[in-house]
Symmetry: C2
Subunit: 416 residues, 2 copies
């Protein structure tokens, strides 16, 4: 990196990462800090204290989101929002989410230390429950207005458990619904995250600029045949529901590899009835999930996969029932923000590429309304949601420095 360029404080960032990892630390070296658990509340308190120590303003909302704010000299200025989340999946790792929040905090501290006069407010935010311990993207969707009372009707865990957990954090369903902000106040939203994949590592690249957070569609497929005695019913005369499901799984893989890469497909749940060594399966209920970068690609995948399921059912004289489940719309990232991140990486001499994010992230809550961008740094072997999750110190430092310079470019009018 050119010596004259402003840089984050490497030791301070790495020290923060180590300290935060102690909160909810597991014996395997990971972190167990699911949203609204005692460990998560301790993590939030640690973040509040860090904000205080940095001399930044603390801001909290009814959805449990916590922000550090570095105000502009211009009170009516817009806000550039940087952030991620401090919660983890159960028995997760040290970097997923934490890196993005700490990098954002470090950017604000670095700029505060530099005594620059900023043309916009800077806000470093930790969103509540990105991982969906209760409701995925709870905090960011509360701010963007994508959360409503219906969002609370089917939390993971029971509604009463959710109420207790919210109360533990000093919030409630009603208070969450007060967290919506006027999105016009935001100049942009920007987040750095570990890749949770191997594309950067395998190509020895520093920075992955996200072009889109992929959309997800899912269905329940039920293949229905006829139960029969597994001895007396000739194989040629069976209507074995498992054959339909098995044929589909193999051919869906081939279809996606042939026509939809880098789109992905998964059959992750399979329930077979009646379920005995000596009874031909009558019914198979199977989950189907597929992801791709644009609405058009998703629609094409859906058409071809569902047609394939019908073919597989017909091949074995089965009937197919299907019902759509949750849908997540693809969230294309803002082209200007992508270019800005590329410019920041270039300026720092870091290699970069464009890629899609196949996992969900908080930027989805904002991508349709404000200029939103996201970039990845490598993580070892693509392992994430796992105690073995690891990102090298130098990549953590790159993360914060690219976030810093992307933020500076945006404050300087890069998106204007």
């Amino acid at each position: 990196m050119p010596q004259r360029m402003i840089q984050i404080n490497e030791d301070r960032l790495l020290s923060d990462l180590r300290d935060l990892a102690q909160i909810g630390a597991t014996a395997e070296g990971g972190v167990h800090r699911p949203a609204l658990t005692e460990a998560d509340l301790a993590g939030r308190e640690w973040f509040r204290q860090s904000i205080h120590q940095a001399g930044l303003a603390l801001q909290e909302d009814g959805a449990g989101n916590i922000s550090a704010v570095l105000p502009s000299v211009e009170p009516n200025a817009k806000t550039l929002l940087l952030g991620s989340h401090l919660d983890t999946v159960p028995n997760g790792g040290r970097f997923d989410g934490a890196l993005g929040v700490l990098a954002a905090l470090e950017v604000l501290r670095t700029l505060a230390d530099s005594h620059r006069s900023l043309p916009c407010h800077l806000e470093a935010i930790s969103f509540t429950d990105e991982e969906g311990n209760w409701i995925p993207l709870l905090g960011s969707s509360a701010i963007s207005g994508n959360l409503n009372r219906e969002s609370f009707t089917q939390p993971r865990g029971s509604k009463s458990e959710l109420a207790v957990a919210l109360a533990r954090a000093g919030i409630s369903v009603a208070s969450c619904l007060t967290a919506q902000r006027n999105l016009d106040e935001f100049l942009a939203y920007l987040e750095v995250h570990i890749e949770q994949g191997t594309r950067l590592e395998s190509s020895a690249l520093d920075i992955g600029i996200v072009t889109s957070i992929v959309g997800i569609r899912s269905h329940w497929l039920e293949f229905v045949g006829e139960a029969a005695h597994a001895g007396t019913k000739a194989v040629a005369e069976r209507k074995d529901a498992f054959w339909g499901a098995a044929d589909f799984a193999i051919r869906a893989r081939e279809l996606v590899l042939a026509h939809f890469v880098p789109g992905v497909v998964n059959c992750g749940i399979l329930e077979l009835r009646p379920g005995a060594f000596n009874i031909v399966p009558a019914r198979v209920r199977m989950s189907l999930e597929f992801r791709h970068g644009t609405k058009e690609q998703l629609a094409e995948m859906e058409k071809e996969l569902l047609a394939l399921a019908e073919q597989c059912a017909a091949r074995f004289d089965l009937t197919l029932n299907r019902s759509p489940v949750a849908t997540v719309a693809p969230a294309p990232m803002h082209s200007g923000v992508q270019a800005t991140i590329a410019g920041a990486a270039e300026a720092m001499g870091l290699s970069h590429t464009r890629l899609m994010s196949f996992a969900g992230h908080d930027p989805q809550s904002f991508a349709h309304d404000i200029p939103t961008g996201m970039f990845f740094v490598p993580c070892r072997d693509g392992i994430s949601h796992n105690p073995a999750e690891f990102t090298r110190d130098e990549d953590c430092i790159h993360a914060a420095n690219v976030l810093l310079h992307s933020a500076l470019l945006i404050t300087e009018g890069a998106l204007a």
Copy 2:
């Protein structure tokens, strides 16, 4: 049928079938009379009364087997054993087992009425728990000496429940082990049963002479890959355990259809872990069962199916664990008894064929030690173990008449 030939009493047989079907009758028209339940005990009591009313001798043993005996004039004569079972599967049908017992009883009554002097004793037996509500073929294997204390260590249901159920019938584990008989006392064992398949019906044949009760081998197959995020892990890089299991199910079907018909294969249980829409399956545990008529055919099937499982695992970079489960040896029927049944059918002008039994039956308990034979009559649409199980009156009458004339041919020295 030639007018001069002795025949069973059709009305008496059909009346018995109707009466017995009332015991454990279900709303759907079937019978729920699992072994050692109150309904089964009521069925046994009905059978005892029928034996008394027919003026036949009643004989019971420590395994709960109940027999009618028509003694020979020669006290040291051997016994020709005819029989089947009165127990049903849960929510089963009216003919499976019941037809064989009632046909055997009717044969004894017909011969008693005819006042013939028989060169051997005739015994019509109802075996305990053929269906394996507790232990498959309990009664017949107790007589043949194939039952021992180990047979009682893993009953369906718990050991204490089994003890209670045995006590309800006035028997015990210890008494079951006293039921073994000297197999030299038997001239032969002969059973008629409904086909539980469609081969007779679809060829419009009257009688199916069983050549062998097929052997069964089964294994647990476990395909082991790696759990992964169903978004971030590229399809081409996955080790999806379900792909191995699915590929195997489809190709095992093709293998058996191409090389092992009329052998059969079934994958009836499948458990997939961890089991979520968005997680690539790490482990699939699948049951494999296959059946064929001879030891040699079974061994060849086993070799090829297990090799195929290895290939399917290797194709997707998975490992395969496997463990054998229960084995049932094939039970070839006695060729002389087969010829005798064919002769009886011919004499009565009934069409017949030879076929394998793909379901297990009590003759397995005797086939390796005494001349044993079995034949089938058609059942509608092959439906069995189901309230809709149905065999026409004329086929029930054929069953008893062919049993009668097969028995007569054997008493007259057909096997000598």
